[in-house]
Symmetry: C2
Subunit: 249 residues, 2 copies
């Protein structure tokens, strides 16, 4: 297997609703032209799939359960090519431009909330294995997010991590974050027993409310799902990272 095939084979498309705790992603094998071996994405599919991506990334689509069949190759190309990296680069640039307008408190009371999967870490870049990547704790950083994370720390912003993963995954999650280059966050929230069965939007809003109740101002929030960003106790500014692979309510 070449590296690209590895990446493609690794990903497991997960359709998710309430208590999705981690993303195991598998994208389908690419279709190749029988003569040239090139990927075949028809022009009309490309046009439609770009519009589908507009639809889901703006949240116009609302809940969605699977990548349209005609867009599977398009999505594979998107995440394994330059575009996913480029889009997340621009998100990090927008986030940095915003926080530089904030007069950050010297008492550490200005906060930023990060989701983890497909926000700080992205197993899309992990060409390691087919299964159990969370146990292996080797999902790499999304490069632009790691850069922005460190820039926030230099500015004195207090960082909270808020993930839909379960409490029992705490050790592996910490290990993975450190492996990927993250350190010195203020607190890592995972779903505890009382959070089970809650919609991500509710669970995450409650945790943000807790952060605010402790006297922090949540300046920004970064997530690949709208459920990371909406609800109540929302950040002053929210930053949507790309994710055309799965949806979490």
């Amino acid at each position: 297997m070449n590296p690209t095939q590895y990446v493609v084979a690794l990903l497991t498309l997960s359709l998710t609703t309430t208590s999705f705790s981690q993303s195991i992603i598998q994208l389908p094998t690419r279709h190749r032209h029988p003569l040239t071996g090139n990927r075949r994405i028809r022009a009309d599919d490309s046009l439609y799939c770009a519009s589908w991506r507009f639809s889901i990334e703006t949240n116009n689509a609302g809940a969605w359960s699977s990548i349209p069949a005609r867009c599977q190759d398009y999505v594979t190309d998107y995440v394994t090519g330059d575009r996913y990296l480029s889009d997340s680069d621009v998100v990090a640039g927008d986030s940095l431009a915003f926080i530089k307008t904030v007069n950050v408190s010297t008492e550490g009371k200005d906060a930023w909330v990060f989701d983890i999967d497909e926000t700080l870490l992205s197993e899309i870049f992990n060409s390691n294995t087919y299964n159990e990547w969370v146990d292996l704790a080797e999902a790499p950083a999304l490069p632009a997010s790691l850069r922005f994370y460190k820039e926030l720390q230099e500015l004195g912003v207090t960082i909270f991590l808020l993930t839909g993963r379960d409490e029992f995954q705490r050790n592996d999650t910490v290990k993975n974050l450190v492996y990927a280059g993250y350190s010195n966050w203020e607190r890592l929230f995972l779903r505890g027993p009382s959070d089970e069965g809650k919609l991500a939007t509710v669970y995450k809003s409650e945790k943000r409310m807790q952060i605010e109740d402790e006297g922090y101002t949540i300046q920004g929030s970064s997530g690949d799902q709208w459920s990371d960003l909406q609800g109540f106790a929302v950040a002053k500014r929210s930053f949507k990272l790309p994710n055309p692979m799965y949806y979490i309510a």
Copy 2:
């Protein structure tokens, strides 16, 4: 001038803040290759500009004042080619899919709120003139929006129009809407004297609140600006139409 050049020349890039009342758009002349005459959009510009569009359409960018210089040809291609039509088609499809899940009240108390410029009408399709298109009242319909508008009416949804245009433009606005094929809306809100100077988000939220206070449930809202969709008294579902041309706070 050929039709494409007409369209391109027509558009005037308007940078807008608080009391923007209509969109006069002008995109720059395209750069052409001196030998082939083809448009020249470099691959790295294309990659960057797609990411820039992700950034502004998700509202990650927040307020922005101009199309990046390197993206002017990209945006011209986007709006004058298939992609703008395709994206707005998919928005209309998302909107229809949602309203079909609603058990629409037989008393006409379920409402939908539409913005006008670049939502119901789009002067991008108007190859008529350089100036004063609003006075001419001949901006065409955005085709997918007109189709969805009629589908809503068949379903018994009550339609409100809510525009940042000023009250003095009422007659021209009505004339233009009728010319483009729209009819039988419940009410058309324009900015009156007491609305001057308000941010669009505030002005539009106040009008939605008024609609709700009259006993309507605002099921959906369609607009090309986030300021059409956010604030208070927001619709149950909001639908963001594409607009990489200008931003209204």
